[in-house]
């Protein structure tokens, strides 16, 4: 068959590419399991060492790392839950219900997606100051609670996965607005919701700019900010500690992603196929 050698060519390109992409992770493991002297030695150490536990121990001795970890979990879970709920409901309504000015409103929503947020940095910051939101998690949760991108995604998914007949049938059976959403919309949107949830969680978990701007109290730091501070204070003296912290901050999302991998990938892919 003609197709056999062609597949070889593809693997020939893809295997080295995948190895190259995996290398920084491997290097992170090597660094976080080494001694400082191994890292700054010549030739550099190329295989993982045995110092991981010792490095983590020094990390917990020097900074309140687990507090930052818990903060990140809290902010990410709350912000994600709110955003996904609003996006699913709004997207479903945009897709399946007809009401005056619907298409105009959706067009406005789409236009705001292309609106650069950069210009709003200072005014937003001042608004947070005036609202007394500095050193709280509200700036990380409230303004992003209704994601135009998420609503757009859910609307697409609803148009592809939900049929008007099912909705009408449910209505004829006497289901109200929220019941239709809950019993027809949510089950049909489940793959899209799962995919968006993971994306959104990752995004919240990794958010750096706003936590950096609004959180001054180190007890409130989320992981990226704590990590950056740690790199600033320990980066030149105790590199393995910084690397151990980086590893610990990275693992949860990798595990989460690997666990939901099929769901995320197939939600993105299958959602598009059904159209």
């Amino acid at each position: 068959m003609k197709s056999r050698p062609r597949m070889w060519v593809q693997h020939l390109v893809l295997v080295p590419a995948a190895a190259l992409f995996a290398f920084p992770f491997y290097w992170l493991v090597v660094m976080s399991t080494s001694r400082t002297s191994d890292i700054f030695g010549s030739p550099p150490r190329l295989i993982p060492g045995s110092q991981l536990v010792a490095n983590i121990g020094r990390l917990f001795d020097s900074v309140d790392f687990h507090q930052a970890f818990l903060n990140s979990v809290f902010v990410s879970v709350v912000a994600t839950a709110v955003t996904v709920t609003i996006a699913a409901l709004s997207g479903f309504v945009f897709a399946m219900f007809r009401f005056p000015a619907r298409d105009w409103l959706f067009a406005i929503l789409l236009v705001t997606m292309t609106l650069p947020t950069g210009v709003m940095l200072v005014p937003m910051f001042q608004i947070y100051v005036d609202l007394g939101w500095i050193n709280t998690y509200l700036p990380l949760i409230v303004p992003g609670a209704a994601s135009a991108f998420g609503i757009f995604w859910m609307r697409q998914a609803a148009r592809e996965a939900v049929s008007y007949e099912v909705i009408e049938a449910a209505r004829v059976d006497g289901a109200g607005f929220l019941r239709v959403f809950w019993h027809v919309g949510v089950p049909a949107l489940r793959p899209a919701i799962a995919g968006f949830t993971v994306f959104q969680f990752m995004w919240n978990w990794n958010e750096y700019l706003w936590p950096l701007l609004v959180l001054n109290d180190s007890a409130l730091y989320t992981l990226p900010v704590a990590l950056q501070q740690l790199n600033g204070t320990h980066g030149t003296s105790d590199y393995p500690v910084v690397m151990a912290a980086t590893l610990l901050a990275t693992i949860p999302l990798i595990v989460l992603f690997l666990f939901f991998r099929r769901m995320v990938m197939s939600s993105v892919t299958s959602g598009a196929v059904k159209g």
């Binding site: 893809l14 945009f94 148009r159 990590l227």
Partner: protein, 319 residues
């Protein structure tokens, strides 16, 4: 109240019109369901935008008195050279990162989309994993990889007989590291999006093309690329917007300093610098920071218009 009559027209996707409704109030549930976006956009989108008009006309360190300076901040924006330098840095980083990554991920998605390919999921996962990690973590790892003296990249370069590169202490070195970081981190995301676009193409199109004796390259050019153009358009627009607002990568990679001669101080980086939020390398001026924000705004709007034009033109050519 009479407006509702005009919305009765059936659209492309006709909903069975079971009920006749006369009043907008009848739709309160629908409006309520979509209201969060519009309320939050008014409060944290529209209002800050108007507020930004005022803030760009003052000089203020955030603590003392607010001084009205009129258009001075915009004069400064053009005359000081800082903003144009930052714009240049942003463009360089964008061109050396975002453009290659979109092309490469399109190619990878085309490779991965072959139906007979084994281990597709594994490849996808490996490419996507960087996207999952925090930019701060990535920046810290890349700092180590590309460290001048102790970095593994320089050790490899020396090992194969080449001379080491002073990555972190030269302008182009740091820029290149930032670009590689962006490439590495965003590649998998684009691959997944493009794969989704490719898999939404009806298989019958491919079957027909194969029956007509079209080769892989021909199929890629005549079916795959035209069919995923809407996806590419989406990626190009969102990619440009995020690409021109790059901040975290250069900020963390250079420990907040901006690299030699501020070579990776992007527009956003410059704005945050004048907000006084990072290392105090310049006197805080919220007015100037806002003016920089307007500069970013104008640049991005121009890019969006350009994007729309290019895409519309391409679409016309292909149809």
């Amino acid at each position: 109240m009479t407006q509702t009559a005009t919305t009765r027209r059936p659209g492309k996707t006709t909903t069975p019109q079971l009920r006749k409704r006369r009043s907008l109030l009848r739709y309160w549930r629908e409006y309520l369901a979509i209201s969060p976006f519009f309320i939050l956009f008014a409060a944290f989108g529209l209002f800050p935008l108007l507020f930004a008009v005022y803030l760009s006309m003052v000089s203020w360190d955030g603590l003392g008195d607010i001084e009205w300076v009129g258009p001075d901040q915009f004069v400064r924006l053009f005359s000081s050279g800082e903003f144009t330098h930052a714009l240049g840095n942003t463009v360089i980083i964008f061109l050396t990162a975002q453009v290659p990554v979109i092309l490469a991920s399109l190619g990878a998605a085309a490779l991965l989309s072959s139906p007979k390919l084994r281990a597709r999921g594994l490849y996808q996962t490996m490419f996507f994993l960087p996207q999952v990690t925090s930019i701060v973590a990535v920046a810290i790892v890349f700092q180590s990889l590309f460290s001048n003296e102790y970095g593994i990249i320089n050790a490899i370069l020396e090992g194969v007989g080449l001379s080491s590169v002073p990555w972190m202490t030269t302008e182009w070195g740091v820029r290149l590291v930032v670009s590689i970081m962006i490439f590495w981190r965003s590649f998998g995301y684009f691959v997944v999006i493009f794969l989704a676009g490719i898999s939404s193409i009806p298989p019958t199109l491919y079957e027909a093309a194969r029956l007509d004796g079209a080769g892989s390259w021909r199929i890629l050019r005549s079916i795959t690329i035209p069919m995923i153009l809407p996806t590419v358009a989406f990626v190009a627009v969102t990619g440009t917007i995020s690409g021109f607002q790059i901040f975290t990568e250069p900020q963390v990679l250079t420990n907040g300093l901006g690299g030699p001669n501020d070579s990776v101080v992007t527009m956003m980086f410059l704005q945050v610098r004048y907000m006084g939020a990072t290392l105090q390398t310049v006197p805080t001026d919220l007015g100037f920071a806002t003016a920089i924000g307007w500069g970013i705004f104008v640049v991005l709007i121009l890019l969006a218009v350009l994007n729309a034009r290019v895409i519309a033109k391409r679409r016309k050519e292909l149809s």
